[in-house]
C-alpha cells in the first residue's frame, strides 16, 4: 500500500501526470473528437464514466486473479470488462437520450480502444491502489482527459479561420497545439508532491 492522500492522487492524475499530455494515453479520440467544443465535452463525460466503472471492476478482477494465481489473464479480462462496459453505456445512452447517441456516433464504440481507460486499470494495479484510491484515481484521470479535450477543442475552434501554411493544416497543427499545452501542464509539476 502506498501513503499518498486521496487529494494528492486526484491532483496527480488530473494535472501533474495528465493522461493525454504527459502519458500520451487516449491520443486517438484526442485528435479525432477535439474539433468541436460540444462533442468534446460529451465525449469526456462518457470516457470518465467508463473509466470509473472499469476501474472498480479492474480492482475486483485483480484481487480475484491473484487469489487463483493466474495473473497472466489480467490483460484479457481487463479488456473484456472495458468492452462490455462500453456496450452497457452505449445501450444506456441509446435508451435515455437518442439525440446524444447520434451526436457521439462512431466514437462511442471506439471508447473500447481508448488506451486511457486500459491505462487507468493497469496503472492502478501497478501502483497497488486500494478500492477507494482506485476510484479517486479514475475520477482524476477522467477529469484530466476531459480538461485536455476541452482545452484543445476551444483552441482548435479559434484557429479554424486562422491563416496558416497549407502543409500545417490538420494533424500537424493539432500536434503543435498539444505540444504547447503539454509544456504548460509541466508548470503543475510539484503541485501534488
Amino acid at each position: 500500500m502506498n501513503t499518498e492522500s486521496l487529494g494528492t492522487i486526484f491532483l496527480n492524475a488530473c494535472l501533474v501526470n495528465n493522461f493525454v499530455l504527459a502519458y500520451f494515453l487516449g491520443i486517438c479520440p484526442f485528435l479525432g473528437v477535439s474539433g468541436k467544443m460540444e462533442t468534446a465535452t460529451k465525449m469526456g463525460a462518457a470516457v470518465m464514466f467508463v473509466m470509473l466503472i472499469s476501474s472498480m471492476c479492474a480492482y475486483g478482477i485483480h484481487a480475484f486473479l491473484v487469489s487463483i494465481g493466474a495473473p497472466f489473464l489480467q490483460l484479457i479480462s481487463y479488456i473484456v470488462v472495458i468492452a462490455s462496459t462500453v456496450q452497457l453505456v452505449e445501450m444506456f445512452i441509446k435508451k435515455m437520450s437518442p439525440a446524444l447517441f447520434r451526436s457521439l456516433g462512431i466514437f462511442l464504440p471506439l471508447i473500447t480502444t481508448n488506451c486511457a481507460i486500459l491505462g487507468v486499470a493497469l496503472f492502478q494495479t501497478n501502483k497497488a491502489y486500494g478500492f477507494l484510491e482506485s476510484i479517486v484515481y479514475a475520477l482524476g484521470a477522467g477529469a484530466g482527459f476531459t480538461l485536455a479535450l476541452i482545452l484543445i477543442a476551444g483552441l482548435r475552434e479559434q484557429l479554424e479561420f486562422a491563416d496558416i501554411p497549407k502543409i500545417s493544416k490538420g494533424t500537424a497543427l493539432t500536434l503543435f497545439i498539444a505540444g504547447i499545452l503539454s509544456l504548460c501542464f509541466m508548470g503543475f509539476a510539484g503541485l501534488g508532491a
Binding site: 490483460l75 479488456i79 473500447t112 488506451c115 486500459l118 494533424t171 500536434l175 504547447i180 503539454s182
Partner: protein, 210 residues
C-alpha cells in the same frame, strides 16, 4: 482504412501490399494510427525500436490468425474476438520481453500491455486480414509493422540525438553539447511528430504539384 478500398480494387501483388505499409499508407505518418505508443516510448531510439518490433510481431501474428479464422467467426462478435486474439499475443510478448531484458521491460512499462488498444492492429484485422488470404495478410502485416517501426525509429532517433546528444546510448557530440531537455519530455514528442508530419506533407504536396 479508406485507402485500402481504392488499392484493393486494382490487381495488387504481394510486394505492393508490403511496400504500401512502408511508405504510401505508412500507419503513423499517413494514417495517423496508433499514436499513443508512438509518442510515449519514442524518447530513445532503443525503446522506439523495441516497441516497434513488439507491435510488428503482434500485428503479424494477429493478422495470420484473424485471416485463418475469417470464415468461422460470426460477424456480430468479430471485433470482440479480434481483441481477444490480440490480447493473447500481447500477453505473450509482454512475458517474452520480461524474460529477455528486465531493464527494457521496465523502461517500456505499461505500454507493452497497451499494444492491445493500438488502433493500428485492430484496424488491420478489421480492414484487411478479415477479408484477405493468409499469404496477403502476412505481407500486409510485415509492411505495416515495419512501417510503424520505421516511423517510431525516426521519432526516437531525433528525440534522442537532440535531447540526450546520443544515439543507441553512444555519445555523438563533444562535452560542450547542451542537450535539449524538452525533446525528452512529453512536449518534445508532440513537436517532433508534428515536424515530421510537416515534412511528409511538404513532400506529398510537391509530388502532386509536379
Amino acid at each position: 482504412m479508406s485507402n485500402d478500398n481504392a488499392s484493393s480494387k486494382e490487381k495488387v501483388t504481394t510486394t505492393d501490399e508490403f511496400i504500401k505499409g512502408l511508405w504510401k499508407d505508412n500507419p503513423v505518418f499517413v494514417q495517423v494510427l496508433g499514436m499513443c505508443p508512438v509518442l510515449a516510448v519514442s524518447n530513445t531510439a532503443e525503446n522506439a525500436l523495441a516497441m516497434g518490433l513488439a507491435t510488428a510481431f503482434v500485428l503479424l501474428m494477429s493478422n495470420i490468425l484473424v485471416s485463418l479464422l475469417r470464415n468461422f467467426v460470426p460477424k456480430q462478435v468479430r471485433i470482440a474476438s479480434y481483441i481477444l486474439i490480440i490480447a493473447t499475443f500481447v500477453t505473450v510478448v509482454d512475458y517474452a520481453i520480461q524474460a529477455i531484458s528486465v531493464e527494457l521491460h521496465k523502461s517500456l512499462g505499461a505500454f507493452i500491455s497497451l499494444i492491445v488498444v493500438n488502433c493500428l492492429i485492430l484496424s488491420r484485422a478489421e480492414a484487411f486480414a478479415s477479408k484477405n488470404t493468409v499469404w496477403k495478410s502476412i505481407f500486409d502485416a510485415l509492411g505495416m509493422g515495419l512501417g510503424f517501426t520505421f516511423a517510431l525509429f525516426c521519432l526516437g532517433a531525433v528525440r534522442e540525438i537532440l535531447g540526450n546528444g546520443s544515439l543507441f546510448n553512444i555519445s555523438l557530440f563533444s562535452e560542450g553539447f547542451q542537450s535539449w531537455i524538452v525533446m525528452i519530455l512529453p512536449a518534445g514528442g508532440f513537436f517532433t511528430l508534428a515536424i515530421w508530419l510537416l515534412i511528409i506533407n511538404g513532400i506529398q504536396t510537391r509530388k502532386t504539384k509536379s
